[in-house]
């Protein structure tokens, strides 16, 4: 009998995670973000030193050059071990790094990639603005060329983890008078540059996930432009394609583990008559179906990964995974809340059998951030099914 491909690798990963997964969970994001930032920097450093960072990154960029198969095994074992949620490092590891690998100059790559991989640098994303949310092409935050610098003025909104970030992938209008997708540039912004003001925003779960960022005559070297000046839309679409494709593997492995936790919770929790919740046929059916859906989502991820192995940039099919992940996550926590009754009213209950009320509240972000579910459905309909473009301007005028 032959071993499953990667079985030896899996055994190594499992053993290491068992011995090294921190006992303390990742702290929530406070107004100054320091607690979580310190925690994540330290944990990523640990992973980096042990050789678990950048498993499928090319060797020339400091990775191990292994295949996506090994990377997936890592995420599977990572979720199984209950290791810390690393969404605070998502932008750097899953957005900025792949974009720099694809479009960055050798100098940009040499400076930033090692810092991202080792956890030294935390990144945030400056795409959305007060008047450019779902309609991302409505960006008005602008940069004017002045010698070998861009002088930036304007505002960004919903920037996640900006209070702790060292760098930002900043999408700017750099061609005066341009509109929509034309005349934008994708720029690396050092968050410590004078003229930047970061104001954290309290979220519905009590944490400070997002910030508003203001720029007043912020001088950014032209050497920080990624790709050509004026082709920022193209560069950012590559970034979003990564976000919607393979980048969500960790998160959806975690969701599959959450469904198993919910099932275990429903076996251990009794109703007013002293019966375990799973004794109810309706509850058992709902939980069984959730297990099937979580498996289907994983299968869809593997299917997509197998298909796009040959392509360097994932196609629009990645949107399927992003859309379903966000909606299934909400469905899982909704069911958990509906089964918990009064226990679901208590925040920060603690203990092994606590209802994850905080995660339930946070799950509302999933169908909004990084593209709403509605925008994602438009993308599927227009790019995959070739339905005619939604004529937003005509409808506004009418």
């Amino acid at each position: 009998m032959t071993l499953e491909p990667g079985a030896a690798f899996r055994a190594q990963v499992r053993e290491w995670l068992q011995a090294n997964t921190p006992a303390q969970p990742c702290p929530p994001i406070s107004r100054d973000g320091c607690g979580q930032a310190d925690y994540l920097r330290h944990w990523q450093r640990t992973l980096f030193e042990a050789g678990w960072a950048g498993i499928n990154w090319p060797v020339e960029h400091g990775g191990r050059g292994l295949s996506q198969r090994e990377q997936i095994i890592w995420y599977e074992e990572y979720a199984r071990a209950g290791a810390p949620d690393m969404s605070g490092l998502f932008v750097g590891l899953q957005h900025a790094a792949p974009t720099l690998m694809l479009r960055g100059t050798p100098a940009q790559q040499a400076f930033h990639l090692p810092r991202i991989l080792s956890g030294e640098a935390i990144w945030c994303q400056g795409f959305s603005e007060p008047n450019a949310g779902s309609d991302l092409a409505g960006i008005s935050c602008h940069g004017v060329v002045d010698g070998d610098h861009l002088v930036v003025n304007g505002a960004k909104l919903w920037t996640s983890f900006a209070q702790a970030a060292d760098y930002q992938e900043l999408l700017l209008r750099t061609e005066p008078g341009s509109s929509r997708q034309r005349g934008l540039s994708w720029v690396i912004c050092d968050m410590r540059t004078p003229g930047i003001t970061v104001s954290p925003i309290k979220s519905m779960d009590g944490e400070y996930h997002n910030c508003e960022v203001h720029y007043e005559d912020v001088r950014i070297p032209l050497a920080n432009v990624v790709g050509e000046l004026g082709e920022g839309w193209k560069v950012s679409m590559a970034t979003l394609a990564f976000e919607r494709g393979t980048a969500f593997i960790e998160s959806q492995m975690r969701l599959a583990a959450t469904v198993e936790k919910l099932v275990a919770w429903a076996r251990d929790t009794v109703d007013a008559q002293g019966r375990a919740l799973v004794e109810d046929a309706g509850v058992a059916g709902d939980l069984g179906e959730l297990r099937a859906r979580a498996a289907g989502l994983r299968a869809m991820t593997y299917h997509g990964a197998a298909r796009c192995q040959a392509q360097s940039v994932p196609g629009p099919e990645g949107t399927y995974v992003a859309l379903m992940l966000a909606e299934l996550k909400q469905q899982v926590y909704r069911l958990w809340m509906s089964l918990s009754g009064l226990a679901g009213l208590q925040l920060h209950a603690g203990g092994d059998n606590a209802v994850p009320v905080e995660q339930y509240l946070f799950s509302y972000a999933g169908t909004i951030g990084g593209g709403t579910s509605e925008i994602r459905r438009n993308i599927i309909a227009e790019r995959i099914l070739q339905l005619p473009k939604h004529d937003a301007v005509a409808e506004r005028v009418a």
Partner: protein, 324 residues
């Protein structure tokens, strides 16, 4: 979880099946009341009934992947579920050394419908006009000759299919305990439902691209667009899970049953949803008998009940072993 993609030879086989069905079993046949029994023997020429049976047994000697791909194409053309009954029936006959029955099924001279147990010692037969039917209970598959003269005939929601109700005692046949075949039954119905789902998705999208109202194709409206997008997501989800079930089944994985039952349950629920959406997208035409949208919905209802009660499958999924 492992998932292998079909290789080129397997895709070519699926293409061949699709071309054949498009010529001999176009959806238009259903409007004209031509039953699948008419051209059944033609399917035998393609080897459809013995795809996974060894060549020494008269089959093609291929595997579950080819079988699933063929059933998915059959689903798109709303081929009778007796295809699955006959494929599994040939396996049961072969396992029981009933060479004559095996060969009659492989040649398309006999066709096996499906039998589903009801309460009160009754059995529901679906498209078993030949008298032969396949019954699945747990890991046990059995192939029966039913005395149809003693059966109560009923009209089926899907008018291309026959319904009979008969006492369990009127069934007599051979039994095979084979977990892999039982999981295969779930898999093949899942694949068939994937085909129905994809047909609904494509029909809805094609109509949304061309039907003009308010001066533009209705597919430009988000209310329509989002229904179509949901069908596309569902098709991707269900086929992916079906492929995961194929891989688990081929490998004899400990969680093969979980993946097969999951694939079947998801495909049933999502095919129904997509078929509903397809009717709605078609507006008044969707409600008419003339457009095939209603046929997809009705077939999805039938397949959702096969090989057994989907409500039981939902709660069983809670207890089946799954590797995270």
């Amino acid at each position: 979880m492992n998932l292998s993609l079909p290789v080129q030879d397997q895709l070519d086989l699926a293409d061949g099946v699709a071309r054949y069905l498009d010529g001999r079993f176009p959806l238009a046949r259903l409007r004209e009341g031509v039953t699948d029994a008419t051209h059944w023997a033609g399917l035998a020429e393609l080897g459809m009934f013995g795809i996974a049976l060894p060549e020494a047994q008269g089959g093609l000697g291929l595997g579950w992947m080819e079988n699933a791909l063929a059933c998915r194409e059959a689903g798109r053309y709303l081929l009778s579920p007796a295809l699955v009954g006959s494929v599994l029936g040939a396996q049961v006959a072969a396992a029981g050394d009933d060479i004559a029955l095996r060969d009659a099924l492989l040649r398309g001279e006999r066709r096996a419908g499906l039998a589903v147990p009801l309460s009160g010692g009754q059995v529901q037969l679906i498209d078993a006009g030949d008298g032969l039917c396949l019954l699945l209970e747990g890991d046990v598959l059995s192939l029966h000759e039913a005395k149809l003269k003693k059966a109560k005939v009923a009209s089926c929601i899907d008018e291309s299919l026959q319904l009979h109700r008969i006492a369990r005692t009127e069934l007599s046949g051979r039994r095979v305990r084979n977990a892999q075949l039982a999981q295969g039954a779930q898999l093949l119905f899942a694949a068939m439902l994937c085909g129905v789902l994809e047909q609904a998705r494509d029909m809805a999208a094609a109509y949304a691209r061309t039907r003009v109202q308010f001066g533009r194709p209705i597919g430009a409206f988000q209310a329509i667009k989002h229904r179509c997008a949901d069908a596309a997501l569902a098709a991707e989800l269900c086929w992916s899970q079906t492929l995961a079930a194929v891989s688990a089944l081929q490998a004899g994985a400990a969680d093969a049953e979980f993946h097969a039952v999951s694939a079947k349950l998801l495909a049933g629920e999502e095919a129904l949803k997509a078929a509903r959406a397809n009717i709605q997208v078609h507006g008044g035409m969707g409600f008419s008998d003339e457009v095939d949208a209603h046929r997809l919905l009705k077939r999805a209802h039938v397949l959702h009940q096969l090989p057994g009660d989907p409500r039981l499958a939902r709660s069983r999924l809670l207890d089946l072993e799954m590797e995270l």
